[in-house]
């Protein structure tokens, strides 16, 4: 028994080893480094001395930065809701009505992944810009007289985010709905539930794993997003991602940047745990 157990655990170590090493070196180590930096002190001309300096964290609660944090969370939240509202019907349609077009439709959903985010964000600049396609169309149709500011607004940032993150919502939703046993929907109808009730009492609760996975996949990266607000947002839509980027690249205040990064990570972890607890155990229990 002992011999056998040992061999088995050796095999397990061999299997898990590479991934564990990879995660340890490229994920955990930088994370610890950031944590250490966040308590350090930045020199005036860059550079950083390690130590225990909590002032970086106090600075995080400066109203100016707090506003950015709140704005980031609100935008990430709205983005998640919009992706869910737009993505659910689409995933539902592909999974349950797609028939032989399923694969083709799914590939279409993933088409945006074929070009880099940067290029896609620039495409939006071209469309929404002062002299862009959108403005020219509006003027041509006589809806507006001159160029209006479509770009550099929170709406533009949201539009870009929804566009970028929609596939991350659709794919997990599709995966759950694809496995949905439609006879359960029929059973609901059979028991007197119309479309509305059948959906909210049976289909939707049973697709919760997909809703949760999709929401997490959209919420987390959109809370850390900096490319889209950089290109499509103005000074009014600086998000945490931009702030952190600025601290590291422009202001060279690595200590404060690290503190912001740690706070973002903690916030996201807290939000996810709250979300999974509240919705997860309530609706998922027993599935």
């Amino acid at each position: 028994m002992g011999e056998k157990g040992k061999g088995w655990s050796l095999g397990l170590a061999a299997l898990l080893g590479p991934a564990a090493f990879w995660l340890g070196v490229f994920f955990l180590l930088p994370l610890l480094l950031i944590l250490a930096y966040s308590f350090g002190t930045s020199g005036i001309y860059g550079g950083l001395t390690l130590g225990f300096n909590p002032s970086n964290y106090l600075k995080v609660f400066d109203p100016l930065y707090l506003e950015i944090t709140v704005r980031t969370l609100v935008i990430a939240f709205i983005n998640t809701l919009l992706c869910l509202a737009l993505g659910y019907p689409l995933a539902y349609f592909i999974a349950l009505r797609g028939g032989r077009w399923k694969t083709a439709l799914l590939i279409l959903v993933m088409v945006p992944f074929w070009t880099s985010l940067l290029i896609r964000a620039y495409a939006w600049v071209v469309i929404l810009g002062g002299n862009g396609i959108a403005n020219r169309t509006l003027q041509f149709l006589g809806i507006t007289d001159g160029p209006i500011s479509l770009i550099f607004t929170p709406q533009a940032v949201l539009m870009g985010m929804v566009y970028s993150y929609l596939p991350f919502m659709i794919l997990p939703l599709y995966a759950t709905l694809e496995r949905f046993d439609t006879s359960l929907k029929e059973a609901a109808h059979d028991l007197g539930a119309g479309r509305w009730h059948a959906f909210w009492r049976v289909t939707f609760p049973l697709s919760m794993p997909g809703v949760i996975a999709g929401s997490i996949l959209v919420f987390i990266p959109s809370a850390g997003e900096f490319v889209i607000p950089n290109l499509l947002g103005g000074s009014q839509t600086v998000l945490l991602g931009n702030l952190i980027q600025q601290q590291f690249l422009n202001a060279r205040d690595w200590a404060f940047g690290s503190a912001l990064a740690v706070m973002l990570a903690v916030l996201l972890l807290g939000a996810i745990m709250f979300y999974v607890r509240r919705i997860g155990t309530e609706k998922l229990g027993g599935v």
């Binding site: 006879s183 359960l184 059973a187 059979d190 007197g192 009492r201 049973l206 027993g286 599935v287």
Partner: protein
């Protein structure tokens, strides 16, 4: 075991005074070019245990789904409790279904599964609790109300599906091979239980099965289907004793089939000549008159054939195979022209010791030998 087939109602009492629960008239359902159900005409009476019996793929589920409202027939009309239901969505039909896969809601516990339909109907509070508890008790699931479906055995899930449907007191309960996934012993138990339950609640059951034994033990009447077409509608005894055609004769129980040419017809009595020249005395179906000279098939059940020369049809045969079945023994004999003839002999005391290879005389009566149509 045979006692179970005791008829609750005399089988040939004409059901004139009984109201029709479900009427199917001229129902045809096509999937593309494929005809799944072909010109189906059935009247199913209130309080009846009615079975749709037939091999897999013959259109039983499709028929049930049309009654439930999940499929619309291409042609024909369906009425439930006297009301035409064309275009009425499933959630407004006074029927409930026990699905083949049970289709129990995995995210709800037993109580909420059973309460689902009642809540939709606006039943609340104490009445809801009482009715759900009573339904659970009826299917012997009391104490399981808080369990999630995944913590139940197959048989228990089956009961949940049953309680969930019955609790709504539907006019008609549709059951699609509800016992198909259970093992033999449990299936036998549940057959009895279902039959008793139906008797208790008095709801019309339309029961789909491909198991002829199950249909025979449980049903008041059975519609035998093949390839979308109803072959015969009758009570179990009539189906067994008076199968209308070869399909029914073969599908229900075991049977010996002969083909031959009609030589003479004398009222009900038919004499035919089989290929080797021997004569077989048989009887025609009620009302049918075979033409002399036509090719027909006749059937005789193995238990109606006996050893000895006391019968209208007598022939010699050779015993080829003996199968001991406990209560009886099956002998497979070969007639001189090479046709097989099976017969059963009851194992009363230690009678009838025949061996493989013995020459025997076998006989059967004309009245047990039925000329089949189609």
């Amino acid at each position: 075991m045979e006692d179970r087939r005791i008829q609750e109602r005399p089988p040939d009492a004409p059901p004139v005074d009984r109201k029709v629960a479900v009427a199917l008239s001229g129902i045809t359902k096509r999937f593309g070019d494929f005809v799944a159900v072909d010109d189906l005409n059935l009247d199913i009476y209130e309080g009846e245990f009615f079975s749709l019996l037939g091999p897999s793929g013959c259109g039983k589920t499709t028929t049930l789904r049309m009654i439930a409202g999940f499929e619309e027939p291409g042609e024909g009309e369906i009425s439930v409790a006297g009301q035409p239901v064309q275009g009425v969505p499933p959630y407004r039909r006074p029927v409930n279904t026990v699905f083949q896969s049970y289709a129990i809601f995995p995210h709800l516990n037993v109580f909420d599964n059973v309460a689902f339909g009642l809540r939709r109907a606006g039943v609340k509070g104490e009445e809801l609790r009482q009715r759900v508890t009573r339904a659970c008790k009826m299917v012997q699931l009391q104490g399981f109300e808080k369990r999630k479906p995944r913590m139940l055995s197959g048989g228990q899930q089956q009961r949940v599906a049953l309680a969930r449907a019955l609790v709504n007191r539907p006019k008609v309960l549709l059951l699609d091979e509800p016992l198909g996934a259970l093992d033999l012993k449990l299936r036998k138990e549940m057959q009895l239980e279902l039959k008793n339950l139906q008797h208790e609640v008095g709801i019309t059951f339309i029961y789909v099965t491909h198991d002829q034994e199950e249909a025979l033990t449980m049903s008041d009447r059975i519609a035998v289907m093949n390839e979308g077409v109803v072959q015969q509608v009758a009570d179990p005894a009539t189906l067994y004793e008076r199968p209308r055609n070869r399909f029914v004769a073969n599908f229900i129980g075991q049977t010996n089939l002969f083909s031959g040419t009609v030589e003479s017809v004398n009222g009900e009595k038919v004499t035919l000549v089989v290929p080797d020249g021997a004569k077989v005395e048989a009887v025609a179906q009620d009302g049918a008159e075979p033409e002399p000279g036509s090719e027909v098939h006749v059937a005789v059940r193995p238990e109606k054939v006996r050893f000895g020369a006391a019968g209208d049809n007598v022939c010699t045969a050779e015993v080829r195979q003996i199968v001991y079945l406990g209560v009886s023994t099956q002998y497979i004999t070969w007639l001189p022209d090479g046709r097989k003839l099976a017969l059963y002999q009851q194992n009363i005391q230690d009678a009838g010791g025949y061996d493989v290879g013995d020459e025997v005389t076998v006989s059967w009566d004309a009245r047990n030998c039925l000329v089949l149509g189609g």
